[in-house]
Symmetry: C2
């Protein structure tokens, strides 16, 4: 008789955003005339930039023609895209990454979920708390996290690094040494980040302790401050201790177009084995590439027109972030994030729990946000708003919150 | 210190198609004037059908417009596509599959590689031999296959079901009971298949023994005979024992466009737990959907125009299959497959090994095929040719083989 992966049964409750969707649906059904504004899930709203649209049309036309038609893509992705990434995301920042260290994928969620597979069962992971749920959940599925304590909402074999007001929303080096360290800067959900000097400390710590950093840089396009690194490889020694995961979702609006990549430097080794060779094997065995037309769309992101159009698009969301940040501050909230990230993080007022504030915001302001507790136990008492709505909705939502 | 997944190191040698690519590249470098024809890798050559191209352009235009723009897709895929699948792939064949049993994915390779994750470590797998390498390799990576014996080219904990001339290229029910049974019909690489009645025996066997069948139906569009099932759910009782994986690669030329789906019926359970709920959790946690424009392209496959155009496209490859089959038979080869599949399987002449015949074919006929031994130990002494080349190249390749 076949047996299931029992680790799946350990995962508590339903996924955060499903619960939110159900609550919102119930509210809308009870209040059909109310216009609810969502600043909840981190999904973008701007259409794809003209340079990307043009490239998509051109690539579709190629697929219509026997001479231009493309079948299976190269295992790591088309070199025209990997070369553009190496040039613009790395070389332009003084970082030398070769194109066979870049693996094109269907997005940062897949990669950040799948990357743990190339590591053994007996690795201890450390995560920021609160954090994007995928890091922990995929390690639960792999059986790496021990038992779940519903009271503390913590897994016995996970090292939690609280990122709260008390720590300046940055993790501190853990007292127990982890094997794998998930870092996401600028951070989802807190919208905070750390300086390049602080990141260098993590790189030094990882190299010294033999840990591997899984660095999720999905929000790097939102960095506005000079002393913040866009890539972990801007830090010295990062190539021997870090994997970097990148996304096209937030810098180019690809949430529904699906494109990302992961960098695994060849210097990153366990004994004689390069992690690059392991990820290449996984990539070649369990994945069959990103559509040609989507890879072409990705390459358009790096053209002069694409860059100019996307600078404007990111600027649109950055303006929203400022509107939310300033508006809430004015209304007396304690807020952080928003400066180098599209997320604004606020303390719930009057000692409300995250979910209590969620209900209040939905019922009184008709605004949907995300309860901080959904991202980890230290997120309790906090709340996330995203800058990815339209400008008009963002202004209106902030007005409503102010009037609440 | 972080530890790697040691199971990866057990995987022998490099991937079959990489080895072929290297040999071909070396030959071309030494013989730059020779026109080599590849009937090797199962990649298609016809451009996308006009109905699909039109739908892609329309969907791209939607993404250019604020009102039409699509962000994150629904977890299981857009309902317009899942409804079309339920209607045309299942209801039209008398099978009732609900749309929440259908999971849209980026292709059958990903799904057939990832599906083993929802099963426990202590499941014993059975595979046809020879077979698509992904089934075994992904179970090796998960640590489910025991040790590899280089002499016999077999894993200690895998049940091999030989499909050779002696068994009529069909697997026999194994004497040792497996937990997971991978079946691919029409088969890659042999191009043979089994009748619906024979498939019913497998379903009955699985239900009786408590095994789960992972049914890869990627080549169903090539079935020409009436007594062959297009879906395993045409067999009675299959919903309580089988997962079905489907692809758009071979029926619609999506090898470079990436789309597939997996059906996990809700009746399929281990105790009280439905495999549907486990796969939904995996899908929602480690994957973020297929591009909207690609899902639209998939829906165009089911329109009257799409169907007519793809019938012609599949017919083009079926004609190639017949040319290869008839030509090789005429030349004295012992051939099988090709009738319900785009693959022709031949016995190597004069007791040559698969790789010896590969070299002979490349050097003397300038034709590239795939050595049967690359698909499993029982593939030794056989050779695969595919019908996915152009008509002109196929005719020329067969002529060259005849003259060899």
């Amino acid at each position: 008789m076949f047996k299931i992966n029992e680790n799946y049964l350990k995962l508590p409750g339903s996924y955060l955003f499903s619960t939110i969707a159900k609550k919102v649906a119930a509210y809308k059904q009870a209040n059909p005339d109310e216009a609810v504004i969502s600043l909840g899930i981190g999904d973008v709203t701007r259409p794809l930039a003209p340079a990307i649209i043009k490239r998509l049309h051109d690539a579709v036309d190629e697929m219509a023609d026997e001479a231009g038609f493309k079948g299976y893509a190269p295992d790591l992705g088309y070199s025209f895209l990997r070369e553009a990434i190496a040039e613009h995301d790395y070389k332009a920042r003084g970082v030398d990454i070769s194109i066979d260290e870049i693996f094109i994928s269907d997005g940062a969620k897949s990669d950040s979920g799948n990357i743990q597979e190339i590591f053994g069962q007996d690795n201890k992971i450390a995560v920021c708390d609160p954090v994007y749920p995928v890091y922990v959940d995929t390690n639960v599925m792999a059986g790496r996290t021990g038992t779940y304590d519903a009271g503390s909402e913590r897994w016995s074999d996970v090292i939690y690094m609280p990122c709260t007001k008390e720590t300046g929303f940055a993790p501190e080096l853990p007292s127990e040494t982890p094997d794998l360290i998930y870092l996401c800067f600028p951070n989802n959900p807190t919208g905070s980040t750390i300086t390049k000097d602080q990141l260098q400390e993590w790189v030094d710590y990882a190299n010294k302790s033999g840990a591997c950093i899984i660095y999720d840089a999905a929000y790097e396009a939102y960095i506005t401050e000079d002393n913040v690194a866009h890539s972990i490889y801007e830090c010295e020694g990062a190539k021997t201790c870090a994997i970097e995961i990148r996304s096209f979702s937030k810098n180019a609006g690809f949430t529904g177009t699906r494109l990302g990549f992961t960098v695994v430097p060849k210097e990153l080794k366990c004994g004689d084995v390069t992690l690059n060779s392991l990820w290449a094997r996984r990539h070649g065995t369990k994945f069959n590439g990103v559509p040609y037309i989507i890879q072409q769309a990705g390459a358009a992101v790096y053209t002069p027109e694409g860059k100019a159009q996307l600078k404007e698009q990111v600027g649109y969301y950055q303006r929203n972030a400022k509107i939310i940040y300033d508006g809430l501050k004015e209304a007396g909230y304690s807020v952080s994030g928003g400066v180098n990230a599209p997320y604004i993080w606020l303390e719930t007022p009057d000692n409300m729990t995250s979910w209590e504030f969620f209900d209040k915001l939905l019922n009184e302001a008709k605004v949907v946000g995300t309860p901080g507790s959904g991202f980890g136990p230290s997120g309790e008492g906090y709340f996330r708003l995203t800058a990815f709505g339209t400008y008009e909705n963002t202004v209106e939502a902030v007005d409503r919150i102010k009037r609440m």
